[in-house]
Symmetry: C2
Subunit: 78 residues, 2 copies
């Protein structure tokens, strides 16, 4: 069974780069990657926050948040 | 041809977790991942720094640095 990996971003240049390089590099045999644009899906900000996401871009795997560089604070997306 | 991905760390808990989750999740069909412990290979700190690494853990792909959460500043490893 594949694991779910969530990539949260806000469309910023740092986010797009991390999506194209890191999120796209995950093994498709083992991970289903869902890309979530928090600027467009504000109703999912709370979900990201409860997974420990403090800023975007961030990857959530197995319930743990991995912040990749820094694009924007989650607070500005609320 | 596979791309090279370099994962720089310093053995810290944040580093080990990022290695086990993010570096290990990269697609082995597309990436050769080299794990570099900068605490043990101090001669490679300059190489990491010139790729733009400011802190560990960090992943360098296609010459760009992706800092994953924050374990330690590169300065303390010099």
């Amino acid at each position: 069974m594949k694991s779910k990996a969530l990539f949260y971003h806000a469309g910023c240049p740092v986010c797009v780069d991390a999506e194209q390089k890191v999120a796209a590099a995950l093994d498709p045999q083992r991970f289903d990657v869902e890309i979530v644009h928090l600027g467009e899906a504000k109703e999912r900000v709370a979900e990201a926050e409860s997974a420990g996401v403090k800023s975007v871009p961030a990857l959530v795997m197995d319930g743990a948040a991995y912040h990749i560089n820094f694009g924007a604070d989650l607070a500005v997306l609320k």
